[in-house]
Subunit: 346 residues, 2 copies
DNA sequence: ATGAAAGCGCTAACAG
DNA sequence: CTGTTAGCGCTTTCAT
């Protein structure tokens, strides 16, 4: 009766070396490609690796090579964040990291600066990406002192010399207002934040609203920004009188998020207005989500994937030793796509 | 001019030992508490740790102690998954792991079985949690052969001897149908899946629908399950005739997800029906989300947090060496909460 | 109650 | 082109 060992211990590079009849360091060099190996030796080693299904031990690698092949991603996951906004970032970051054979450890903003100190202090990771960066964010000073590459996603008041990537909310706002202006609208109303979000807490909120206001003024549209005082649909519903105050005129409604677009569609329908005929709804939204609405919503793309890719690219440049001046990298919105919810007035 | 060193090297337990005037192994024992230390020595060591802000090197620990303090969480993040359904699980798992000083590496289902082999082979983690477990899931056989603790979230056809945790979709369905039966309804209609989801791909889908059908039959309600043939709201809208076929009678609509509940509310409103008076809408949904709807929706709680906590608890029992028989652990829905959308008929 | 010392599995400098 | 060797920082015997 073949008794299976309780816990088979994993093969090491030494086992591979023995099987291939070479020294252990040769195995290491075959894997890293850091010195030239005769074709014949390489093949024997590769065969042994295959046969034993050898994989290098991550702990030993990290210890000796002082590189963990892990990046830490700090993100807000609780009730205060909309998962639909954050998951595309996470997904893309994990994907881009894996392409470089890096793994991603997920930590939450709840851990605050101490979480960063822990990960760096224990040498659990080689670099950080911080999401949900607020205008004043206590994590930034800690992160900047860490002596490890850090990329912020968002625009803080003070980058503290770190790289940052953000969506160009100003360009997005201008594209949306321009769409309304170009199609003969006379009034633009932007649906503001619905939760208890403090204005100015996040750069992109105030930047988006300010840019809407300024562009509307420049293009000669009357403008209003409506911030519901209750969260969720109930708040939007209650704000209907102000949102639709100018429903008799050539009114365009602006949504900063897919959720806002959905609420605005629902609102207009409920009040007997046909989006694309009596009123326009335009917003920031992925192209896929925009096309999936009924009716499809005129949008500029939110570019979560481009922002994330840029963040990972920057991070790996730093890991590769790049010493260029850190900066803020704004990702332009995609082209505006006119869909069914743009009403074209003479 | 004090030149700052380019890269300050992290303090080691050896540095702590020197500063405290003890041997390096004593530092280790102070940290692990695995042998008794005189109060005086402990204090000196602790002070040195404090002073140097020493943190143990994770790689060295993993190498020597053969335990990484990392669990790998494999989850579906792409377009096919609704982030609102998955993030509460992720959040709770990260939180529960951190309580035990474990970190969580996030990998995606896209990596498939090879992702599991990689993490286990390189000894990147001590254990696995697999989410989005389908009825037949190619990851399971691989996971079961891994010789590391694994907990599944979901109910596969074959657990292959692994632990699994799932929401009791049958109990949830029964509670919802009972609510309709108890309040005098004569017809129950459940909104089915809207994407291209293959029926039977996931246990909880078919289990929920089957349980609705069976309970409706047992309680004497006419029953229908409507599966829109287009995704999103458009599909629901198109299915309106069938969903509302019995609007003249005592009709109750059942939603398996918050998204479905939102669509059903929208649908009824659009067709001039008042939820809670002309028609009922009941569904599976977190209490918070249910209360936030307008009007608040009668619900049984989805218990994402309880499921996740149970999964992590099980995992750590296994990591602690528990040899009890692995099983499927069903988490009961919370009490049904009757809110504004239950219409009470005579 | 403490110290000394052996190695975990790997990388990279040094020696041919 | 390849082998030998010295650690990385820690946990854990073995010794006192």
């Amino acid at each position: 009766m073949s008794e299976r060992r309780a816990r088979r211990t994993a093969p090491t590079s030494h086992d591979v070396a023995r099987l291939a009849g070479v020294s252990q360091s040769t195995v290491s060099y075959v894997m890293s490609g850091k010195r030239s190996i005769s074709a014949e030796t390489r093949e024997r080693v590769m065969a042994a690796i295959e046969q034993l299904t050898y994989q290098p031990n991550a702990g030993a690698r990290a210890l000796r090579g002082r590189t963990t092949h892990v990046i830490a991603l700090m993100v807000r996951l609780g009730e205060r964040a909309d998962p639909r906004d954050t998951v595309p970032y996470i997904d893309t970051i994990v994907e881009a990291a894996r392409e470089r054979d890096y793994d991603v450890v997920l930590i939450t903003t709840d851990e605050g600066p101490d979480g960063l100190k822990r990960m760096a202090g224990r040498q659990n990771c080689d670099a950080f990406i911080l999401m949900d960066v607020a205008a004043r964010d206590e994590r930034i000073a800690t992160a900047a002192a860490l002596d490890l590459p850090v990329v912020l996603i968002g625009t803080p008041a003070d980058r503290a010399g770190l790289d940052a990537v953000d969506y160009d909310a100003v360009a997005a706002a201008e594209a949306l207002v321009d769409e309304l202006a170009d199609t003969g609208h006379t009034h633009a109303v932007v649906l503001g934040e619905t939760g208890g979000v403090v204005p100015g807490e996040y750069w992109f909120l105030s930047a988006f609203h300010d840019a809407c206001r300024d562009r509307a003024a420049a293009r000669g549209l009357a403008f209003d920004a409506v911030h519901p005082d209750r969260p969720g649909w109930a708040g939007v519903d209650a704000a209907a009188p102000r949102l639709l105050a100018h429903r008799g005129e050539r009114l365009g409604l602006i949504a900063r998020t897919p959720q806002a677009a959905e609420w605005l569609l629902q609102l207009t329908r409920l009040h007997g207005l046909r989006p694309g005929a009596d009123v326009s709804v335009v917003g920031v939204c992925s192209d896929a989500a925009a096309a999936a609405f009924d009716p499809p919503v005129t949008n500029v793309s939110a570019q979560a994937r481009d922002v994330s890719r840029k963040a990972v690219d920057l991070l790996f440049e730093r890991l590769g030793g790049s010493e260029t001046e850190p900066g803020l990298h704004l990702i332009a919105p995609g082209e505006l796509h006119r869909r069914a919810t743009t009403a074209v007035f003479s």
